[in-house]
Symmetry: C2
Subunit: 387 residues, 2 copies
């Protein structure tokens, strides 16, 4: 991108900014939109008229709130006018959906994966088949993105390593792009979860947040200064492999004492004295069934919370989030344990003590859909500036 700006780029920039605003925040009156974007009424009118002419928005009159005067025109995104294909490849399921302008899922399919089903060629074939079915109603996606539990090179969608899928150096972006005839972006599941929780979930409006999600592994995504932390290559946020117990268990990555070995799914099983291969369903049921007294008396859970706390203290010292959002299995950790972790994060970290806003720890709001919706956001991020 050139560093200088040209007058002919201004209209384009403003159109793209308005589309982004309508997509993430939702409908707004012309007056609100003008104020938020810092533009005058005639500029907004011209932009909205243009979007309405291309079918991207509708305008309808609404009565102003209890005041007399002209009714204001409410500008709303038309979900069907612009949609993207979003895919979430998880270890235990494959989800494919068409998500419309404004962020609503228009149509989707969720299929459980059986063991062996995650071979990458099989996944590509299934995604292509489901995408074709979803488009039967006439919806045509203009972009696509996929969430993968692994380390991904954003520039071309190469999946370097997705250990729980047993993928290594899979050119997923190219394989799917060729099949779909569309540009396909690939993102890490926790990064995309962070994006979605920031756009539409627990971290809405928060400038600095960390999203942590435990599943088989532990992943993280970082929002800093209101935008996702990505670095130049997108390889950021492998918080699960922060070493914090160097004499601890061996992790598949080759190090000992990665955070994941202390707070991932197996660690949670151990904390509850369950076998490490307990099913997800059973594990969640056990967690939900605990009384506050049981939680308070359980040494295994206290030890689990201690390690959760050490990692969160590190993240607070490194990244100064005002909010830590817990997704996946971490959203099921009993609230009374999390209160202790929150207290530790506030009191035991230099930055936590100094920060003007005490750090909060909250469960995610989007549940299992976070990564799918994040994939949709990633696709829209590339589509909106040219729409």
């Amino acid at each position: 991108m050139a560093l200088g700006a040209r007058p002919d780029g201004v209209r384009r920039h403003n159109r793209s900014t308005l589309l982004h605003r309508l997509h993430t925040v939702g409908p707004g009156s012309r007056t609100e939109l003008a104020a938020e974007l810092g533009l005058n009424r005639s500029t907004i009118k011209a932009l909205v008229d243009e979007l309405a002419a291309s079918g991207l928005v509708t305008e309808r009159s609404v009565e102003p709130n209890g005041t007399a005067g002209r009714p204001s025109l409410l500008v709303s995104p038309r979900a069907e006018a612009l949609c993207v294909l979003a895919v979430d490849v998880a270890v235990e399921r494959l989800t494919v959906a068409l998500v419309g302008f404004g962020g609503r899922i228009l149509v989707g399919r969720n299929s459980p994966a059986r063991r062996g089903d995650t071979e990458h060629g099989v996944v590509v074939e299934r995604v292509l088949a489901i995408a074709e079915t979803l488009s039967l109603g006439g919806l045509r996606p203009v972009g696509a993105a996929v969430s993968v539990p692994g380390i991904v090179r954003r520039s071309d969608g190469l999946v370097h390593e997705a250990p729980n899928l047993r993928w290594s150096e899979v050119p997923l972006g190219t394989l799917l792009g060729d099949g779909l005839g569309l540009p396909v972006a690939i993102g890490n599941d926790a990064d995309l979860g962070a994006m979605a929780e920031h756009s539409r979930g627990a971290a809405r409006g928060v400038g600095d947040a960390v999203y942590l999600s435990a599943d088989v592994g532990v992943g993280g995504g970082v929002i800093t200064g209101g935008v996702p932390l990505r670095g130049s290559t997108g390889h950021v946020g492998e918080v699960g492999h922060m070493i914090l117990r160097p004499d601890g268990r061996l992790c598949y990555c080759g190090c000992r004492g990665c955070w994941e070995t202390e707070v991932g799914e197996q660690a949670l099983c151990r904390a509850l004295s369950l076998p490490e291969d307990t099913s997800r369903r059973r594990l969640v049921a056990e967690l939900r069934g605990l009384t506050e007294e049981q939680v308070a008396a359980d040494a295994g859970l206290a030890e689990y919370a201690r390690w959760l706390g050490v990692g969160v203290v590190n993240l607070v010292n490194l990244l100064a989030p005002e909010l830590v959002v817990l997704g996946g299995l971490l959203a099921e950790v009993p609230a009374s344990l999390l209160a202790g972790v929150e207290q530790r994060a506030r009191g035991r970290s230099l930055v936590g003590r100094a920060a003007s806003r005490a750090v909060r720890i909250r469960p995610a709001e989007l549940g299992a859909q976070a990564s799918l919706l994040g994939a949709a956001e990633l696709a829209f991020e590339r589509v909106l500036p040219n729409s």
Copy 2:
């Protein structure tokens, strides 16, 4: 800031971008500047003429490289036309300088601090007195910034905690701003060191870098996607307080096993079997005097390098830097030890193995001036858009 752009903002944006380019990269021909900024020749000519008229740049003819044709005009920043006051408050010394447009130190004063001299009222008085002396030659700074070894709130220059100065909740920005009659920005020393090494040192042109500096404590600054990582409040990068040995030594911050306790000045003394209060000069002399054979045979240094490696692996997994720059005492760690740390960072981190560019570890280039020059950059960052 308003999200929308207006045509009248374009010229201002381009002027500020050109000033920033000349300040950080140095002189350039009109042709080069036009190409880099993506502007046409007449737009660049108008901008340069404007800057020349206000005395900020000079233009002189240079012969084109071995080609016939018109000589090109080389546009250079005039250092004396615009300067800022930069201050580095360190435990053992106070440095105050006037730094000109283009980044050159025009005049400066470095004074050793004696024990007790770092009381904040004393520091403020000394900075004001030195600043007055430095301005006697007629240079008038238009902005100021201060580097402090502590946790700082950028918005108003409050120093929350600077343990090695024994400062707590010192409103340094306000105190100095009132005295100088200038806006004064305050930054953390390692953050500013990172900025300076990125603008003019070992990390020039690098998109993702971590700057680590050991002194009494260990601080860090992060460059990600080409810009400093700051979050919304500026409280980021307390890498020295990353816990990675929870059963280790007690840190003054209240936690056990912070990285600082394993790789800071005292840890380096222990690694060399020196008393923990060995003078900095002696410690550096010992490090420089080691032969490669001595380094290879020393179990204390091997243990030190191991802990340096654990922390660097964590930073690579979290932030995916392509370069780790070592400043302060860390720049004195023997090269053969660093080679081992680099190897570990590449091979033992998930992200290090996946990254297309293997992470490199290099000593800083700006030495003791890094934080001072970073403070100047911070001041210019605020001054240039309005110059």
